[in-house]
Symmetry: C2
Subunit: 174 residues, 2 copies
DNA sequence: ATGGGTGCAAATGCTTTGCAAGTAC
DNA sequence: GTACTTGCAAAGCATTTGCACCCAT
């Protein structure tokens, strides 16, 4: 199991992200990463990992804190931030920014790389997957001699419900 | 000139962003917007607009402050933030987030909607335009009954120079 | 034993806000 | 004249950090 983060496995890891997701559990991936950096797999780190993947959805640091409290786990904010940063570094979490000033995270489940439609009015988030966009992105990278590591695509606008609401509001005004 | 931000022009404005860029100067667009909100076109707002469009590139609030100082304009940070927010609202500026905790802005020149490659190592930013990606985005929006207003696409990774550097570093290690 | 981990509280750094005085229309 | 604006300083807020004590290996 030691191949993922040692020198020999470096490029393998970097260029074939899905490999580790097929072969190892989240916990193993995290342990592997910690090992490679001579860091320890503590109870706090384990519990945070567990809660992060217990819910299949976006969250922010504060929400994770509340979730931990509700599960009777007392972990300080500092540790939460420190651990989230590690989980991002080892690829188990992705940072997503929805326009607010605090960071949102989403668990990475390996296969489905998706992007987001964010409603400017009600805040609803619609996820979508589009492989053709991803392919075009790779093309752009090649053209610019750039090695992609991650990306964010986020389209802001109005969802169906809010568009109708706004349309009605304008009609009444007129 | 009053048609852009009054009720009747609302949809026109919303659905045909480039129209105003073809017909009006930046200052007119800004004045128009301020008028529509019963806000005033002050010297501070005028000067900030001027400096923002004097340089064709990304900047952050602090850099604008320095630029203003260098041009012997003494405008407080509070006013800068307040004005930047107005410029974003009326579509003359776009917020771009490059992964740091502070907001970056870029002036909008109407025609060329571009996206960014951001080097994780040296921070270099490469702009690119890809109409096929944009078209696919519109498709996604239609499929999800979503009305797009703006979007951000940002690919993070390693630029050519840094990729070579990192490759060499690994070779030496081995 | 020891190098890393944790919680706490204080620090940071960008951004926002309350307020009194000033200014555009 | 009356809102709206500005600058200043203080407040906010998410995140980071210093430090003393703790714990896994």
């Amino acid at each position: 199991m030691g191949f993922l983060f040692n020198n020999a496995g470096f490029f393998l890891y970097r260029h074939c992200t899905c490999l580790k997701f097929c072969m190892l559990s989240k916990e193993d991936i995290f342990k592997e990463y910690l090992d490679s950096k001579k860091l320890k797999f503590t109870v706090e780190r384990q519990k945070i990992l567990e809660r992060v993947f217990a819910n299949y959805k976006h969250f922010e640091a504060d929400e994770l804190l509340i979730d931990l409290r509700q599960n009777k786990l007392k972990i300080s904010k500092a540790t939460i931030y420190r651990t989230l940063s590690l989980l991002v570094k080892c690829g188990l979490l992705r940072e997503v920014i929805f326009g607010e000033r605090h960071t949102h995270y989403e668990p990475v489940f390996g296969q489905d790389h998706h992007d987001h439609l964010v409603c400017n009015n009600c805040g609803k988030i619609i996820e979508f997957v589009n492989h053709r966009i991803e392919r075009l992105q790779d093309e752009v990278c090649k053209k610019n001699d750039f090695e992609p590591q991650s990306h964010r695509l986020q389209i802001q606008g109005l969802c169906a419900v809010c568009r109708i609401k706004e349309f009605e509001a304008v009609q009444i005004k007129d």
